[in-house]
Each structure stands twice: as C-alpha cells, then as structure tokens.
Amino acid sequence: MAPEYNMMEMMICVASRYLEDGKTVAVGTGAPCAAAMLSQKTQSPNLIILFEAGGISPLLPQMPISVGDSRTFFRAVMAAGMTEMMTTCSRGLVDYAFLGGAQIDKYGNINSTVVGDYYKPKVRFPGSGGANDFASLCWRTMIMTVHSKSRFVEKCEFLTSPGFLTGAGAREAAGLPEGGPYKIVTDLAVMGFDEETKAMRVESLHPGVDLGKVKAETGFELVIPRQISSTAPPTETELKILREEVDPLKLVIGRG
C-alpha cells in the first residue's frame, strides 16, 4: 500500500530531489530548509547548506526557527557573516537559492513586500530580506509555495525578487548575472520555464492532480508542453526520515 502523506510533506520530498550532491544551496527557514536537510539525509550527503546570516555547512541537529539562530551554525565549518555569504553568491559559488514566496508571476518574479499602494499598503509583508540578493546572485532559484490563484498572478503587484523579470533577455538587460528561477514546487505540480520565452510551464503533476486543477488555480496562462510527467509520490524512506529526523516537532510538516 502506498504511504499516506500531507501536501507539505509532498512538497518537501519532491523539492529535496532537485538538490544534487556536492552542490551549494542557500536556504530560507521553514520548508526550504526542511527540503535541504531531507536531501542531505537521502540522496545528497555532501550538499552544502548555507544561511544568509553566516552559518556555513552546519550539521543541523534540528530545524532552525530563524536563519540566524544558533542551529544554523551548529558544528558548522564556519560561523561567518552576511557579507561573507552574499559575496560568495556574487562570486558565483552558490548553485541554488531556495525560497518561499508570497506572490509569484509567470516569469517567476516574487512579491514579498506589499499588496496595494506602496506608500499606504493594504498589507505590508517583510520585504526582500535576503531573497532579492539570492535570486539575483545564485545560479538557480528554487521556489516552494502553495498553489492558488491569489498567489500565482499574471504580474506581481510589487516585484521584490527577480525571476526572469519581463521574459527572455530581461535579466541580462537589467545587468543581472546569469541565473533565474529553475523549478517551482507547489502542492499540485512542478513547474519549470520555457527555454525561449522564459514563461512558466507545467512539467509534472502530483498524484491525483489533473491539468485542469492546476490551470484553475493559476491566474495566468501556463505553457503546456506536449508531454507532462507524473510526480513520483514520497517514498516510505523519505517520509520516515522527514518525520523522524528532519522535523520531529512538526514545525513545518504540521502545517500541511
């Protein structure tokens, strides 16, 4: 019998498979951190986890609550600072940025700043934090977010962190180094980006999800390739490690 799992567990397991052994990944707290930890304990033991506040390759004993708490440099190889981390990204040494997002558009741009007028916002969110830096400077940006029409919008109300901006050639024209969004992992599907137009396209559907559902929960027209694969569900091993070793207190998977 196939194991049971919730949507957060699904997202974390799927995302963890994209992080290759020996690569560097800059992570945010919560789900992205859980995915990186899971990847380390399953397929990528030599994945190097980096935190913006200065933690370099810790032996994470448990999920950090903050990207600057003491867990992020528990038995780390170095306790550095923000300038060290971000200049490392700027020099091209960081392969993946792993972020969450409040609002995302068809070119993979993220809004985590405001909804409504900037000067008198309807909702004020945290802003960039380190997300704009990571999305500008790392080779590939991975984003994990819940799939809904209010989050997947044609154009972000405020463009906090860069995806492909307005499409093909826009990052280069703005002066950003090569990079950009790579995969978007949601509770429904995995999305990538069309090589030519840089618009978001569906790549694989999670078990029990049909394309109609993904389209209905997306506020813009997705690129639909001729072939769409099916996402492999979480394995028993992945779920066991995720539940027992990565997030035993259910800080993240409890939200599924």
């Binding site: 707290t29 919560g30 935190f51 913006e52 506040a53 200065g54 933690g55 032996l59 004993p61 448990q62 609550i65 903050s66 990207v67 600057g68 708490d69 003491s70 867990r71 992020t72 440099f73 306790a79 550095a80 600072g81 923000m82 300038t83 971000m86 700027s90 741009n109 700043t113 900037y118 008198k120 916002p121 309807k122 909702v123 004020r124 969110f125 945290p126 802003g127 960039s128 934090g129 380190g130 997300a131 704009n132 830096d133 500008s136 400077l137 405020f158 463009l159 906090t160 962190s161 860069p162 901006l165 826009a170 990052r171 024209a173 703005a174 002066g175 950003l176 180094p177 800080l251 993240v252």
Partner: protein
C-alpha cells in the same frame, strides 16, 4: 576624460536617503571621537539618555531575535523616544518592540514586520500600514553593503542585487555603468548611523568586546556607527581580552558605553548560552491582535517595570532562563 571612461548613472530609485553619505563629514565626526581607554560602564537608562535622543538614526545588531540588545530597546520604549530613523536590517523582535512604542518614523527596510517562520507581527503590520512611516526599500545585503562602505570610509558600495526590480525603484540606489567593463551595478550609499547597539558575550569596562558565532552585519555596523553601545552578557577583566586578542570582535575605541546585562538577548537566542523563548514570542504575536489587550500586555512587561531584571522576573526568572539554557546547550545528536 574620454566619454567611455565616465561612470554613467543609468537609473535611480525614487525614495530618500536618510543619512548623509559624505565620507569627509564622517571623518570630521570620527576625528573628534574620544579614543581614551577609560571606564565606560553605564546602565541602560543612562545610555538612552545620553546617546539615543529623539530623532536620531538607530541601528540594532544581531539578527532580529538572535543576539539582540533587548534591555536597551525596552529602555527606548520606556523613555518614550519618538521620530527615530531605523535600520530595518534582518529585524524581527527588535522591530516588533520599536513598533509597539511607535518610536521611529523613518525606515530603511530590508526585512521588517515578520518574525520569520513564526509569522507576521499584527501590530508591526498595523504601524507600517498606517502610512505614518517614511520607508525606503533595500535588501539585507545592500544594507550590509551600505554599512560596509561606511566602515571603509567611502561614499558608496557596488552590488549586483536589486537590479530590474521594484525593490530597486523604491530604494535610494542608482544603477551605474562600470567604466572598465560597461556592466551595470547598483550603487548604494554609505550609511553612518548616529548610534548602534550591539549585544555581545563578553566585554571589558573599556568596550573591548567579544561575540561568538555568526557576526551577521555587526563587524560592519560597529565600524559604521558614530556612537556605539555594547551590552554584554558579562564583564571581563581587561587581561582576559589581552590574553586572547584574536577573539576580539570590536576594539574599545569604537565604543561609547558598556552595559552589563545577563540574559540580555532574552526573549531572543544567545548562541552557546540560551535559546529563544518561543512561548513568549508567540504570546506577543497572539496578544497583538487586540490593541486593547496589547496595551495591557505592554504595561505588564515593559512600561510597568523599572528595569530589565524585573522583566526577566515577570517572564519566569532564573527558572525560565535555565530551561532556555538547556534547550541551547543540550542539543545532542
């Protein structure tokens, strides 16, 4: 100079730069800053009175709810400080506190309002959505780079962040073209805060300070700030510093005042000593939903106590501190 060797400005953000980026004005200030190695011990009331007047521009060290100088921030609230400028760099519980006191009206924002995985502060949101605060947008690194430029004594730094985004549009940065390669960079102005407060593990009475673990942007902030207040978990003898000078993070001549505050980062995390009090931080977020209840809460924990020790008592005192110590140090795997 030929046309191609000129650094061209191609675009600029629309929001104000709150502090003068002129390095020679900063040098004039530092020229007069006293260098004497003298006893700088004070209490938190005295430092707020002396170094944090209404309207000044304030920076806080650490990372939001990690290694933060809570005692001085509480005192800023009790002293009813208003119209401050604030460095909203990796700010979480510190920001939540300053919003509770409506202490600032100018803000350089990189990370504000949120408490990371814990969610958004309802009261900080209300304050930021009121339109009472003048905001200029940045990123965590571009603010660190502004402090780095100030620490280096130059008027700007170059970063490859922000380009092409609304974060740039709402900043005070400029896009410039490199005179060597023709590539574009964001130029961000140096930032010399009037005063910064940084919490550390140990300091001597002169201000030689040692912190352990990640530095976040505190090496840059301590060098950029015109006045620097150190709060320390414990005071040590000057010989302790001199016996291991490699460990010194901040030399005394940068420091204006030293305040000894055991458990001074509470309810935040202090690396190697105690973990954050997640129950108390969750209580803040919960009670903030109702402004009336929040007022009573603030009266109980901040305005109605005379000092930080009394706050610690109201939060469970030594018993609570021992629990948090266990959480921090007994991680074994």
């Amino acid at each position: 100079m030929s046309e191609e060797n000129v650094m061209k400005v191609l675009d600029q953000g629309v929001n104000p730069i709150f502090m003068d980026p002129d390095p020679d004005k900063a040098r004039e200030f530092f020229r007069k800053k006293p260098r004497a190695m003298v006893d700088k011990r004070m209490n938190e009331k005295e430092v707020v009175e002396k170094f944090i007047p209404d309207g000044c521009y304030l920076g806080i060290g650490g990372f939001g709810a990690n290694r933060i100088p809570t005692a001085v921030i509480h005192e800023i609230l009790r002293a009813r400080r208003k119209n401050l400028g604030f460095l909203g760099h990796t700010s979480t519980h510190d920001f939540e506190l300053l919003c509770a006191g409506k202490c600032f009206n100018r803000l350089d924002a990189a990370y504000i309002v949120g408490l990371e995985a814990r969610g958004l502060s309802p009261n900080a949101r209300r304050y930021m959505e009121s339109g009472e605060v003048q905001v200029t947008e940045w990123t965590n690194y571009s603010l660190a780079a502004r402090l780095k430029a100030a620490a280096e004594g130059v008027s700007f730094a170059l970063v490859r962040s922000m380009l092409g985004t609304d974060t740039f549009k709402m900043s005070g940065a400029k896009v410039v073209e490199c005179p060597f390669t023709g590539k574009k960079f964001a130029a961000v102005p140096a930032l010399w805060p009037d005063v910064a407060v940084i919490h550390v593990h140990e300091a001597d009475m002169y201000g030689n300070a040692v912190f352990r673990g990640i530095s976040v942007a505190d090496l840059e902030l301590s060098r950029a700030a015109k006045h620097l207040i150190i709060t320390a978990e414990r005071l040590v003898n000057n010989f302790t510093i001199r016996n291991n000078p490699t460990a010194t993070s901040i030399p005394f001549y940068l420091v204006d005042a030293v305040v000894e505050v055991p458990y001074g980062s509470y309810p935040g995390n202090m690396p190697y000593l105690y973990f954050s009090d997640e129950e108390h931080l969750a209580q803040w977020m919960k009670v903030e939903k109702d402004p009336k209840e929040f007022e009573k809460f603030l009266e109980h924990y901040i305005y109605g106590v005379s000092c930080f020790e009394e706050y610690l008592e109201r939060c469970g005192g030594l018993k609570k501190m021992k629990e948090l110590q266990k959480l921090e140090t007994l991680v074994e795997k």
